[in-house]
Symmetry: C2
Subunit: 442 residues, 2 copies
């Protein structure tokens, strides 16, 4: 397998436990020796899909010991007290902030404990399907190769295995840049070591065309991420282009956050602007020769916090198909048929969520719709389940969540049109419509 | 600049001499310290476009001292004496076999002598256009960055700079796999250290759906390359899939070559199958922020021997545009407008040449057309110039060579239709038609 990141190491655990002899080849050095890599987002949102996969790999307890609960979105609007918009009905419906580096370490240990071999500093750059050899380059530039029976590319958005497959067949790759970049900053602990803002929430400063968010870390810090358009006369990374302008921009636009971020301008200057894009492929496998999972197959924008969760679902699906089919092409095809429509659905929902987070969470119509959504969710449990909940708290296929979400959104928009408060809604008619249009889940 | 391969180092020379301060960042270690990289084709065909660029960089004499002249194609057909099909009219129209590794070393030395800094073991993996920093990773996995004013991606077919640009804008990338792979073998010198077959030719064994070729090296060896479809019931890398089958296949299909290749089966098993594809982009630049050259912009199949020659033309064109325009976006746009249609033309001609080499060079109609072509070339110098000659012996833009080649091919096909020998051609009518349809070159 190429890649020992989150997806690669989870699949390594699952396949090793199923009796496969697994070798992972990772371009980076061993993070247990050299420390975490810098420059990648340090916290991730873990939701039910990811938790389920960790449970299957026996890792849930260890990971959750270091996770921070996020009950909902804490929305910061200028001149108002921040408001918590809960993600679910209660604390059983929450997501968890976990540290990417620590999660990866725990999974690498589990992978090796399960019997897999992990080779670091060893970049898979091509393969030879005729001799079934994976071609590897070590850090000194020397080439070697290793035999394989099943080749999985879990080597991330810039996958070399994908590039090698594209030398052989057309995967139909399209990269859709978001046009918005991000920069990471930090809120340190307060003078008594405490969290400086509410710990159990994902903080959002929605500003229409752009936004800031903050996620809690166990060190009682928050990682703050500023999302801005790359170009344009309105605030963009082309206009807010140095530390001084960033200080002034934060003081003006994110007045409650700015005092909490020391050396804001300095850090702004030092850290690179990251870019976001959606990677779409029409195919994920090349005959019986190779298959892609995770970001290598379907990198997405981070606004639903589902990239890792989706990749983990890939792992359980591929491990299952490899156990059910002796024929590799059948296994890969079945995996792709099962997962590709769902990956496409969550990619689209992640893009939509950006609009929602930066532009709608402070909108009166939106808030009314969300209130009605929560009311209907209580009246019709298991039938009217908010799309965010289907994605985050269940394992309903993403494509089903997307389709049902469309029906539900229509219902919410029509039922609240022209209304000022939830008391004006005709619930009896609405109940009837919901029972007619939405079958119970499961 | 990202990449210190052939294109990167030539551009480094040209820009340094023009007064730019140039830094090159190359992922591989210094080949002068660790030796040439294995697994890449070791000889290249140098033609007029490449030579012209080397002349501009003052490298012609040094490179040509180690080059081997190839007068034409030596065509090996079973049961016949090999026939030389000259590329041009005489020894002033030839191409040259040069050693990729040695050429790269000479160019790196020239690059440093011209004042450029070359940093090895330092992979550019992204950039930050807002701070104008190139993001680099060294061989231990550590990240750092370096400032830049002009960013050029000369980092090859798997370009990381291209991938980083694609996170920002749509370059319209399409990869077209050829569907055929290749394996390299070797003919060593004879017992007295001599070349075992004609040294001053590019040898071809055309076999319809596949072929072998051999290029001479200064060590009096030949690099033999077998091109075969990847899949299929006819000879393919899926059916000729081990050393024993390869021995039998060569004994049957390439009977005169097989005894010259010791340990054929062993080497066949050891060496990977390479893959070939054409990389097409709709754009090569991202605003004033970054531009691509060479394989990073337009990797092509190797059948016209023009990949390096085209990349070198890119270098002279980009160096010229950067000197003519202070505005980077204007320089990049002008470079792209000049070179993109020409790269597309040579990519298409390289694909056509595969068909010609493997399937047509031993065909009676084709041979008659070639005879007439040479006759017309002598009767109409500077007007009826064979397409191969325009590509290989002139610097006529590739797109012009392609367009004039179409007109000429029509003329050749129509003039020889149904004829058995060149004496039957009505030259008077043909001369008239040529003067009417083809303007003199220049």
């Amino acid at each position: 397998m190429a890649g020992a990141g989150l997806a690669g190491s989870l699949l390594g655990v699952l396949l090793s436990r199923a009796g496969f002899k697994v070798s992972l080849y990772e371009a980076r050095p061993d993070p247990r020796k050299v420390g975490y890599e810098e420059g990648r987002s340090i916290n991730l949102a873990l939701a039910e899909r990811g938790l389920h996969a960790l449970r299957q790999a026996g890792l849930e307890r260890e990971v959750m010991a270091q996770a921070i609960m996020m009950r909902g979105r804490m929305v910061h609007v200028p001149g108002q007290t921040p408001q918590l918009q809960r993600y679910g009905l209660d604390d059983s419906e929450v997501i968890w902030s976990v540290h990417r580096g620590r999660l990866n370490l725990a999974m690498l240990d589990a992978c090796e404990a399960a019997g897999a071999n992990v080779h670091f500093g060893c970049a898979a750059f091509n393969f030879d399907e005729h001799n079934k050899r994976l071609r590897l380059r070590d850090r000194s530039g020397k080439e070697r190769s290793a035999g394989y029976q099943v080749l999985v590319g879990a080597d991330g958005a810039g996958s070399a295995i994908r590039a090698a497959m594209e030398m052989r067949i057309d995967l139909g790759e399209v990269v859709e840049p978001l046009g918005h970049g991000y920069r990471e900053l930090e809120i340190p602990p307060g003078s008594n070591g405490e969290f400086q803002i509410e710990a159990n929430a994902l903080h959002i400063w929605p500003r229409g065309r752009y936004m800031c968010i903050a996620l809690p870390n166990t060190e009682r810090t928050f990682t703050v991420t500023l999302f801005l358009p790359n170009q344009g006369p309105h605030p963009s990374f082309a206009t807010v282009n140095d530390g001084d302008k960033a200080e002034a921009f934060f003081a003006r636009e994110f007045a409650d956050a700015q005092p909490l971020i020391p050396d804001l301008g300095l850090h702004f200057d030092e850290r690179p602007v990251g870019q976001l894009a959606t990677l779409r492929l029409r195919r994920w496998h090349y005959g019986p020769h190779a298959v892609l999972i995770g970001d290598a197959a379907h990198a997405m924008v981070p606004f639903h916090g589902q990239g890792m969760n989706c990749a983990f679902e890939d792992c359980t699906a591929l491990a299952r198909q490899l156990q059910q089919h002796d024929d590799l092409e059948q296994a890969f095809s079945a995996f792709e048929a099962e997962r590709l429509p769902n990956a496409k659905a969550i990619q689209d929902m992640a893009l939509e969520n950006y609009l929602e987070m930066r532009d709608r969470v402070d909108d009166a119509d939106y808030i009314l719709q969300r209130q009605l959504e929560q009311l209907l969710a209580k009246r019709h449990p298991g039938r009217f389940v908010p799309r965010y909940s289907m994605v985050s708290f269940t394992r309903v296929p993403y494509a089903v969540a997307q389709a049902r979400g469309r029906v539900q959104r229509e219902i919410l928009i029509e039922a609240t049109r022209g209304l000022d408060s939830i008391e004006q809604v005709d619930l009896t008619a609405l109940d009837q419509r919901i029972r007619a249009e939405l079958l119970p889940l499961d």
